[in-house]
């Protein structure tokens, strides 16, 4: 399912002394089945942008198209329900949205709201809990008795159980340890490649962008200043963002030397490049 934005602008507290323009004339498309990362400093408009994608905020000007539904500032609340079903949204620290007595009931909440029967909802909940790696023995526990990482996975299952075609995430790995981050990102990649889901993720981690995203948007002061592949973005000489650690490492290493191979952006690429460049010599020392 494709999402398109045409001349979208968003202003908070319109016509008041607190008026603040968060987004200006945004034109872009999130193509079906792609993994798009959205990066930018705090206050650049990322969070506002993603709230427009499932109708939590309506654009002040312009229009947002989700599949065949058009959202403008005149769209009624009733029409948004289908959009919210199609576009799943995982907020920052999603574990804060857990409320039901048991893990299973919490995950069933979304499907039930979107009109599934009790049995269907239960099936969906069990399926997605398993998918995110929650053991069946935890299903009947209170979500508040789980660890932080488990709670986040339950919250994620709660959104996935609504079976959205597009998944939007706001800094999903904030506060997770490196292993937790890697697990989560691999799960997202799997959802994209195996189930054809469209993934849109706000993040600060350039390593995640380099390793997992197909496309990256850079936002600054309410505008999109770059919309390209991670490789294009990081290879750009007038760099708009901080480079991933692998690239930084390589550049430092090559400081005084010219190189004409591609700049490595992930850890694996870095290792491969280094082996290629220094490998043969290294053999001699063995």
């Amino acid at each position: 399912m494709e999402i398109k934005l045409k001349h979208v602008g968003y202003t908070y507290s319109l016509n008041s002394p607190l008026e603040f323009t968060a987004l200006q004339d945004i034109n872009l498309a999130f193509p079906t089945g792609k993994f798009t990362a959205v990066v930018g400093k705090t206050g650049s408009g990322k969070s506002t942008l993603i709230k427009l994608l499932n109708g939590l905020e309506l654009p002040t000007t312009g229009e947002v198209t989700v599949g065949d539904q058009v959202i403008t500032n005149r769209t009624k609340a009733k029409q948004l329900k289908q959009v919210r079903k199609n576009v799943g949204m995982v907020f920052q620290f999603p574990e804060n949205q857990l409320f039901a007595e048991t893990v299973l009931k919490d995950v069933m909440f979304g499907p039930l709201n979107f009109g599934k029967s009790e049995n269907e909802a239960k099936e969906l909940a069990e399926k997605w809990l398993a998918e995110v790696g929650i053991q069946a023995s935890l299903f009947e526990q209170s979500p508040f008795e789980l660890s932080g990482g488990q709670m986040r996975r339950v919250a994620l299952a709660g959104v996935l159980a609504c079976e959205p075609e597009v998944l939007v995430l706001d800094e999903p790995s904030a506060g997770l340890d490196p292993a937790g981050n890697q697990n989560l990102m691999q799960l997202l990649k799997k959802l994209q490649t195996e189930r054809g889901m469209t993934i849109i993720m706000v993040t600060h981690s350039m390593e995640n962008v380099a390793e997992f995203a197909d496309q990256v948007l850079v936002m600054k002061n309410g505008k999109v200043i770059a919309d390209e592949t991670p490789r294009e973005l990081f290879s750009d000489s007038q760099s708009l963002v901080e480079l991933p650690e692998a690239s930084q490492f390589y550049l430092k290493l090559m400081k005084s030397r010219q190189f004409n191979n591609e700049l490595p952006i992930t850890k694996n690429e870095l290792i491969k490049t280094l082996v290629k460049q220094f490998g043969q010599k290294g053999d001699q020392y063995e």
């Binding site: 002394p17 907020f91 999603p94 949205q97 409320f99 709201n113």
Partner: protein, 265 residues
């Protein structure tokens, strides 16, 4: 986004911002008392003119002010209509079933409307032009007499300050939780009582869970930064009571007494 400006502080630098917050509070309370004991139409005209001047002085703009208070004015109008319909006395103009429109009903309803209107305007201006931290300190000041019955004032001040400090944080948190549940298909527009109860559960439980966790963090950081029981606190901000404030207070008092003498006795 937020239609209600009630209780929202808008930073500014006009004269009204620079007055002592206690003085402002006293003035606000006196104005409200004056409007409630007043029975004459000229009195209301004077009070409404004062309100108008205060709005002008605050420099927030008429349109914005009206937009923010519209909802409450509308509610007050409904209250007045109820009073008109359910009171009897004087000349009866219209009568149907349990409803009556009488001269007495119209009279008290109009009085009530103006009284509440003035109260709404005065308090909105006070909250819009006073820094919440100053309000907290004023509350502590008002509680001063409690010291003599053994209440620890510093604690009250601390509770008020932390409480006010967390109002915007918790407001954001409520919005975030609401958004997250909306994304899971909750429909806050639904009118039925049952679905409203259901949707409030989904907001309340996460909110309280977070609040208890936050309290633990807050308490640890207080202890780590040297908060110990029963120690006298010093204040970073000292509210200054200037000569101008004294003059203004005297002026307000004289005005209030004069008003009461002329219009209420």
């Amino acid at each position: 986004m937020n239609k209600f400006i009630f209780g929202q502080y808008l930073p500014g630098t006009t004269l009204i911002y620079r007055l002592n917050p206690l003085l402002k509070l006293i003035t606000a309370v006196l104005l409200i008392i004056a409007s409630f004991v007043n029975h004459s139409w000229i009195g209301f005209v004077i009070l409404l003119v004062i309100c108008g001047l205060l709005i002008r002085m605050s420099k927030v703009g008429w349109k914005f002010f009206l937009k923010g208070t519209k909802f409450f004015i509308y509610i007050i109008l409904l209250t007045s209509i109820i009073q008109v319909l359910f009171s009897k006395g004087g000349q009866v103009y219209w009568h149907w079933g349990i409803f009556t429109i009488s001269s007495f009903g119209i009279h008290i309803a109009t009085l009530a409307f103006f009284r509440f209107l003035i109260a709404i305007v005065v308090l909105t201006i006070y909250l819009m032009t006073t820094d919440p931290a100053d309000i907290a300190q004023t509350i502590q000041g008002i509680c001063y007499p409690l010291k003599f019955v053994g209440v620890n004032l510093d604690d009250i001040g601390l509770v008020a300050a932390i409480g006010l400090r967390f109002v915007p944080t918790l407001t954001d948190e409520v919005t975030n939780i609401k958004n997250a549940q909306k994304a899971r298909g909750i429909d806050f527009q639904k009118q039925s009582i049952f679905s409203r109860i259901k949707s409030s559960v989904a907001i309340f439980v996460p909110l309280f869970m977070n609040v208890f966790r936050r309290a633990e963090q807050l308490a640890s950081s207080m202890i780590l930064r040297g908060y110990t029981d029963g120690k006298k606190r010093t204040h970073l901000r000292q509210l200054k009571w200037s000569k101008f404030d004294s003059l203004a207070l005297i002026g307000v008092m004289i005005g209030f007494c004069g008003f009461i003498l002329i219009f209420c006795i």
